[in-house]
Symmetry: C2
């Protein structure tokens, strides 16, 4: 078996001026890892001929596969297709299958079709056309000197279907690759230095083909063991055994033994349990509900939430008393408690979570500093409250508040508080 390495080249000025965040590369890397292909490098370049050519020439020196995204649109700033056509000494020909597909797509959307749209069906005669059922720009597969070059649109859904329908099956067919096994352990509540001290002996004993990586994300630290090479089944066993050892060293700070998000962790606990949850959100503005409903099947246990951004909604919908708001303020233990009890009652659920805080940049007072968030979790029998203090900007504070809130609820449901 051989270690097959790919490099991802993303083309587009929007990636270099910071107008777009590159989510494609992470997705592509995950899919390739699943079939045993590792990513050597990722390179982003501008929509400029010389920059694209430089990247093509350089990256094929070290990579076996070059995955290229972007620059396939119908407008004048999209130059990847003619460039690749001439790079591989081809000429443009109209693909009937793609043309038919474009005409159908426009017909379904009831839109007039123009020649510019049909030109999306022109492809170099030296490539294998990769069908794009989600859009008009087909992908292209070229080979030269044992290297594979795949060009795909930068629009995420279109790239994804081409990868799934066309690229992954072709790569699986043609290659025998080294095994790669990743096992991630999620911990909460301790910093990475502290964890590293505890794992010092463990790390020293790791064999050369297995590595440990620390991925801190505020008070959550993910520990990833990666093994490569050899027989896939043996490697799987080896890494699994090491993960079990790691978990037993770390004890109760471990919250999951796979790469789960907090919302997936909650889902794992709740699916099939018959328990139902609901939320009263203030400062998080709906973000926790959004996270929870990212999990397919969450409708089984998530009833809904009341986003009481304004105090009037806290009173009117959740039944927080005006006296409490007056005496203690919206960001207080007392308000969080009344909110969570309101959520239990109004949403008629078994477990509820409430958040109320001030995330910044404005809104701080002498009594309540920016970054303060009160949370409460409750069942019919019990309420637990906790104050958090987050010291980042508005968006990060919201993100951590949501994660900590879901972790707080998860611990409460699992009697780990």
């Amino acid at each position: 078996m051989a270690n097959i390495a790919a490099t991802i080249i993303t083309i587009g000025d929007e990636l270099l001026i910071g107008q777009t965040i590159d989510t494609n590369s992470a997705w592509i890397a995950q899919r390739l890892n699943e079939i045993g292909i590792s990513i050597l490098r990722r390179v982003a370049v501008a929509d400029q001929k010389d920059e694209i050519l430089k990247a093509l020439n350089e990256e094929q020196q070290s990579a076996d596969i070059l995955l290229i995204t972007g620059g396939l649109g119908p407008t004048s700033d999209d130059i990847t297709k003619p460039l690749l056509c001439s790079y591989f000494n081809g000429k443009m020909v109209r693909s009937e299958r793609v043309e038919t597909h474009i005409r159908e797509l426009f017909g379904r959307l009831n839109r007039p079709i123009i020649e510019r749209n049909l030109m999306q069906a022109d492809v170099p005669d030296v490539c294998t056309v990769l069908f794009n059922r989600m859009g008009t720009a087909p992908g292209m597969w070229f080979e030269r000197n044992g290297k594979i070059f795949v060009s795909m649109p930068g629009v995420p859904v279109e790239m994804m279907v081409i990868m799934q329908d066309e690229v992954i099956p072709r790569l699986q067919q043609g290659l025998t690759t080294d095994a790669i096994v990743h096992k991630t352990t999620v911990t909460a509540g301790e910093g990475e230095s502290f964890i590293a001290e505890k794992l010092m002996g463990f790390e020293e004993r790791l064999p050369a083909h297995i590595r440990l990586a620390y991925l801190p994300d505020f008070s959550i630290v993910k520990l990833r063991l990666t093994g490569t090479g050899g027989d896939p089944a043996v490697l799987e066993q080896e890494v699994t055994a090491l993960q079990q050892e790691l978990v037993s060293i770390l004890g109760n700070i471990v919250v999951a033994t796979s790469d789960l998000t907090m919302e997936q962790l909650l889902g794992q606990t709740l699916v099939g349990s018959g328990s139902r949850i609901g939320i009263a959100e203030s400062c998080t503005g709906g973000y926790i509900g959004h996270c929870i409903t990212q999990v397919s099947g969450s409708s089984e246990y998530f009833m809904g939430s009341v986003v009481s951004y304004d105090n009037s909604i806290k009173e009117k919908v959740l039944g927080v008393s005006a006296a409490t708001l007056d005496a203690h303020g919206a960001v207080s233990e007392e308000t969080a408690t009344e909110m969570v009890l309101g959520a239990l009652r109004v949403l008629d659920v078994d477990f509820a979570l409430a958040t109320t805080g001030v995330l910044g940049p404005g809104g701080g007072t002498d009594r309540v500093k920016v970054g303060t968030v009160w949370m409460a979790v409750a069942s019919k029998e019990r309420v637990v409250t906790k104050m958090f203090y987050f010291r980042y900007d508005r968006q990060r504070n919201k993100e951590i508040a949501a994660k900590m809130g879901m972790l707080f609820l998860w611990r409460f449901i699992n009697n780990k508080l």
Copy 2:
């Protein structure tokens, strides 16, 4: 003035196996663009010595500034600091300022400090230390052969404060750069091919130093004019005049003349208007409330929302009738209408939006296909409904539904429906 180019090198296996999405690079690119520095390339490499050295050696051939993030943590997989120390022929020395800061940080958090934490204060004696007030790992600034090398932690908040406090001021001091002006126009409702046809003559007349880029994002297309070089004030005037011409060609599909998100656009309309909005969300799960509250100051006009994920909440909290749900189903014009009227009443707002749909992958029926979303917008005087059909995966469908919902509400409020 000179055209100063930077390259961003991100270090970390997590970026190559797809465990982390790189949000740092976009943020860095925006900040550098603001001070007239363009990004030539972005390269991501593994936590491996030879790969990091290769990137350092290659990228300094073409870039003036190399911004390096990642690999500065206290654990064994973090190798950037010793590597840079030996690359620049330095030796490690303890920084007193950083050590004091680390001790203070741990004291404040009430955490025991260990030698591994203090080692974060060791820095190469050949660099300028860049103070990190958000964390323990300082940044480092090296210079060689007229090139600048800046190393920063990969944790976003830490990288951000080092950039703002230390890197940007130093770069501004030392460099005179070319002007760069970006002007973005946001359109909604037409595809990029259609827009490109309308702009054909306009594009042909563009001078060589001004480029037009198309950034399609579902039914929203952003058009970015970028001018470079010459006197900044003259360039600003030139690009502004061209943007005005572009807007007049495109007419009523233009929804904004700066790079605004839908939630910022709504904020622009509502701040200071005295109008208040609220939402009834079903399939979007709280995501629209989340988007709206990403805008600082949104508490002035956003009262809150009811996330009625389960039908029981639609009935109990929003007052949707059981008969309507029975006769027409949750995903119907009738239910959306009763939801929006419920939101107007329960949240006591001037304008409301309601969403109800099935985003997939499960939940579709013969009558209601996966991807169908009914929306309604209302004021006290008027209700408008609309059916949408989204054909992507669960997450993308939610994202587009939220954008289309906010656009629908914006058009309703501005009498553009």
